[in-house]
């Protein structure tokens, strides 16, 4: 006897409900077990439920009155089955598409790790100088890497950096054209914005769930995809915004002098949108750093793995020091890209 029995009867659905397997397939819930253990006989009348405790007519509650209505657990199982059914097809399409990402991630990891520290650190310094042209940033980068090497976190830091490096390249290569397409077509923008919103608000762990089913956890492209999906959003958004913000008068002048669409895009729109695109790349780097830590759950190497170890084994010190190194990495990446951005901005004044 359940709360909604009366309702089912009034609606005349008893027959339909009865047709279903009365035993109620599937595993038994804890609540049912408890009820059985307490010796509640099948026919024993339950006390009347007070009005204030009226249960919400959820799937589980309704199931108690009518076996034909599925339980919530059946629903989640159906979702899982549905996903598993399309999995093979999806994998067939996605696997070849994403394989280059896996190769690049592995190759870059190997290369970064194979390069001895006494070459790698000067290389990073040189790169910083070329992009940022700022003594302060150069000193920050040098000291940070020397510090991390000194406390034996150099290897993990360089792994994290390698993953960010590859994922950022992919994000830019994919994101900038998508952003340009969005800026050219309002329909495209209307379609893309909800997707971008979803990618940005979806909890980061949720990305990992379907990916784990699609790819093996040992494959590096698994975390690569997760990071790119999460980090690509700002570069798309800001490319779109940047191109849409280009002065209408300048575009009109370009038209009036007979520029082709390609000339206009490469000669006017992208250069003038560059400060915004660079700001997007900065955000993309920051977000891939955030994701690379979470991706350690699915075997991404680097500093994130130390943090995870800290959590799993309650090794407080390991987790905290690795966390500090991540902050250090974030600060120096941010400063270096911001300095590069500042250089672009000032050259246009």
């Amino acid at each position: 006897m359940a709360f909604y029995d009366g309702l089912i009867e009034t609606l005349g659905l008893s027959n339909w409900c009865g047709e279903a397997d009365a035993g109620g397939g599937g595993p038994v819930t804890m609540a049912e077990l408890l009820a059985r253990a307490n010796g509640g006989g099948a026919g024993a009348p339950e006390p009347d439920v007070p009005l204030l405790e009226t249960p919400f007519p959820s799937l589980d509650t309704l199931h108690r009155s009518c076996d034909a209505i599925p339980r919530t657990r059946d629903m989640t199982e159906a979702v899982e089955q549905g996903f598993l059914n399309i999995k093979d097809g999806l994998k067939f399409v996605l696997d070849p598409l994403t394989t280059p990402l896996g190769w690049l991630l592995d190759a870059s990891l190997d290369l970064f790790q194979a390069t001895p520290w006494f070459i790698m650190i000067p290389l990073l310094m040189l790169l910083t100088w070329v992009t940022a042209r700022s003594v302060g940033v150069l000193v920050l980068v040098t000291l940070s890497f020397l510090f991390m090497a000194f406390i034996d976190h150099y290897n993990e830091a360089i792994q994290t950096l390698s993953i960010i490096f590859v994922c950022t390249i992919f994000s830019v290569v994919l994101g900038v054209p998508i952003g340009i397409a969005m800026s050219k077509s309002n329909t495209m923008q209307r379609i893309a914005i909800p997707i971008l919103d979803m990618l940005q608000t979806l909890p980061t762990f949720v990305y990992l769930i379907p990916l784990i089913f699609l790819f093996s956890v040992t494959e590096s492209k698994l975390y690569g995809i997760a990071i790119i999906l999460y980090a690509i959003v700002p570069v798309i958004r800001l490319t779109d915004l940047g191109i849409r913000l280009v002065d209408k008068d300048v575009i009109e002048a370009a038209d009036a002098f007979g520029m082709s669409n390609w000339q206009k895009l490469t000669g006017v729109q992208v250069p003038l949108a560059l400060p915004n695109i660079m700001a997007g790349i900065n955000q993309t780097i920051m977000m891939s750093l955030a994701m690379v830590v979470i991706a350690s759950l699915v075997s991404a190497p680097g500093l994130g793995r130390l943090v995870l170890r800290g959590i799993n084994n309650l090794e407080l010190g390991v987790g905290l020091v690795a966390g500090f190194c991540i902050v250090l990495l974030a600060v120096l990446l941010d400063r270096a890209t911001k300095a590069a951005l500042g250089r672009i901005n000032s050259s246009e004044q």
Binding site: D249, V250, E252, A253, A256, F257, G258, E348
Partner: protein, 354 residues
Amino acid sequence: MTEQNNIKVSIRNLYKIFGTDPQAALEHVRGGLGKPELLEQHGHVLGLQDINVDIRAGEITVIMGLSGSGKSTLIRHLNRLIEPTAGEILVNGEDVLAYDATKLDALRQNTMSMVFQKFALFPHRTVLENAGMARRVRGENAKAADKEGQKWLDRVGLSGYGGHYPNQLSGGMQQRVGIARALASDSEIMLMDEAFSALDPLIRTDMQDLLLELQRELHKTIIFITHDLDEALKLADHLVILKDGAVVQQGEPQEILLHPNDPYIMDFIADINRARVLRVRSVMEVTTDPGTNIAGDVDANSNLERVIALSEGDTNLNYRVMEDGAQVGLLHMRDLVRALVPVEASDPARRLAS
């Protein structure tokens, strides 16, 4: 400009209607519906109605009107930055509206160049690169483009500024770059959309003088848009006055000044300094008769202000009017003074005030 009277650009029965269904609205307009009624009854904005203008080669044609009169819309039809609802635009006898994208690009690259009110220079390119822009678009190499750009930068008085960025220059200098950019394309037709309206009055006068000086040398076909009557009268060989998207009057500026055919224009010209704008040839008696009591010679193209200064205000004098060394007429000071009285304004409020 007597040497070339051939027509370069011809605008025929041009209509532009802004809205969701311009073709349907066009029928209403052809049926005699006016701008306010069209907006009220059908929600469409009548941008231009039945424009017919012939633009002669080598002349400055000024299209004047207040804001909202459709003048900027009109000039953008010539290079099809805006597509018309109906009508024809003939450039060198060819219908521009029939052009496909390739021919249109070629027209914009080679035949027409444009100068903008807000300069519209490329902020990420240097002044020199901006000046040679039209050449680069055409695919000429950087060296040729820079050479041509530098030549015209020198010509507009910006010799040392090639390496600067546009934002480092003042408004007047930026517009000089804009003019150099248009000239460097070596196009026959120059469209100037309120080119000097954003500049200070003194700089504006400088730029007008620069344009006239260049024009004496280059004889381009210039279509100049302005809302400033003084500027229009100073520059125009042919003046077109627009109101609410329609041509109210067009012709020689002196002619419009002396014989305005619309109360709108009378109001418009009521406040200008006629002595400075009117020229001797417009008020003289056309004759080769030597005349009597001649006080001296004046040039047919000098303005009345100069003659008044010459006569020291004596209204009894007569002057012999000369052009290219020969007498073309006689100027009686009484006629001159009479011409200074404006045709009465139509607006009763204005009449009371004056």
